[in-house]
Point group: C2
Chain length 241, copies 2
DNA sequence: AATCAATTTGACTCCAAGTCAATTCTGCGT
DNA sequence: ACGCAGAATTGACTTGGAGTCAAATTGATT
């Protein structure tokens, strides 16, 4: 009885993953507007009704995709936060994680953008919203802890508000990713590798906050090599690191 | 005949403005998904068919709203760029314009976000897309010219790529606006006034680029007062300026 | 007043999200 | 092995809104 129950549960979450896998693929290919649940049903070889046994609405499904990616992101952040080194080096490891994540989930920021619109958010289920908040909180805390350490250890000026530092880093990172993908801007600004610029912008902001050691006071290319080797050994991207 | 023709033309564009006014209102109230063209038709007291005489699709209509706002933005940028002062002061005037604009068009960045999704962009008309590019180009050039002046005049280090500076400023500004509106982040980061932070972040980036005079080398609050008085005399917002 | 072109309309088509009565499956008792 | 009850699954159906187009209306011209 309880044996059967747990097996059922496992099968259920396996199917949920299957749905999410295909939905993510179609979403990346067609965008949210053109994501067709009849087609999704055909792809997963279950009926449309079954999809609705897992997700309240199309918005709920989309949010679920975002949550799954965000969880992965939070995992990477927490791994990166463990990097042994000075506070700014640890922050750099998270910046690295963020770019690594952006490469694996090229569509993530677009989905995240849609969550801004209220009508979207309110059509998702309560549970799913809470799950999103949990993962977002983990990401925030990973970074905030490092900034607080930096203030305590004197790498950032006393009296600095840690949350403001985190805010500016989130803003420059989000902004770089979103703007960097825009073909117009790529043309106007002559951009080839948006990710590289995202990381350089993070350096700008850190220098702006006077986060020691500044860019020209430390050999961060050595740090990058260590991050790559110790935290993300199986990465082939970001050749500069 | 030609008299009639121009009158017709005027009436036509007056009606287009009417449609855009109401569409913008409904868009702000309900979001794109819930924007209903039957309701819009009722609001403007014309039939739905008439709307489609002006706009190819719902996406085209939405893009038209964005273009109209963007044109206003470009106008403000060009006005701000004329500010008499050192290069960084002029850049600051544009930052000011940007915040001013964000206040008047709280929904603009959300619309702009939707343009990122390819499916949206390709459903708008060719003409409308071109119009958007024109206005975006004006905004870019306003800023880029100032940065080039700064490099020439030695306020920015020689060898700095002006487009990279512009990119970072666009990124931090967009990012700040988007992230600052997010209730989660507001909660986590303890944010009351997102606009103030957006401007502070712009300062961080400028300092990061070593744009002279740095924040602590100049009395920018005096600059702010002048900008307010000379460029935006009819503004009541941004009390700190 | 009659005619014709231009403009405007709203009933209609079509597509896709979401529902739910009917069907199929599954595990258990006899 | 068989049959039954309830759980799981289905896909035809409803609904709502974007986009269309034949018909109605308007307005200019003779």
């Amino acid at each position: 009885m309880s044996v059967t129950a747990t097996r059922k549960e496992r099968e259920r979450s396996a199917r949920e993953e299957l749905i999410l896998d295909h939905a993510q693929r179609l979403l990346l290919r067609d965008g949210y507007q053109n994501l067709n649940l009849d087609e999704l049903a055909r792809a997963i070889e279950y009926s449309k009704g079954t999809i609705y046994l897992h997700f309240q609405t199309k918005e709920d499904l989309t949010l679920a995709i975002a949550v799954r990616a965000l969880k992965e992101r939070a995992d990477m952040f927490e791994r990166a936060a463990k990097f042994a080194g000075r506070t700014r080096e640890r922050a750099r490891a998270i910046g690295f994680a963020c770019c690594e994540f952006a490469v694996c989930h090229r569509d993530y920021f677009n989905i995240e953008m849609m969550l801004k619109s209220a009508s979207f958010w309110e059509k998702a289920s309560e549970d799913r919203r809470r799950a999103h908040n949990v993962q977002a909180g983990r990401c925030f805390r990973s970074m905030n802890t490092i900034v607080q350490d930096a203030i305590r250890e004197g790498d950032l000026p006393t009296g600095t508000h840690s949350e403001h530092v985190v805010f500016s880093l989130i803003a420059i990172t989000m902004g770089s990713h979103i703007v960097g993908v825009n073909p117009d801007i790529q043309f106007y600004c002559g951009i080839e590798n948006p990710l590289e610029l995202a990381r350089r912008n993070q350096d700008l902001v850190c220098d702006g906050w006077n986060w020691r050691p500044l860019l020209n006071e430390w050999d961060y290319s050595a740090t990058d090599k260590r991050i790559k080797a110790e935290i993300f050994p199986d990465t082939t991207l970001l050749k500069s690191a």
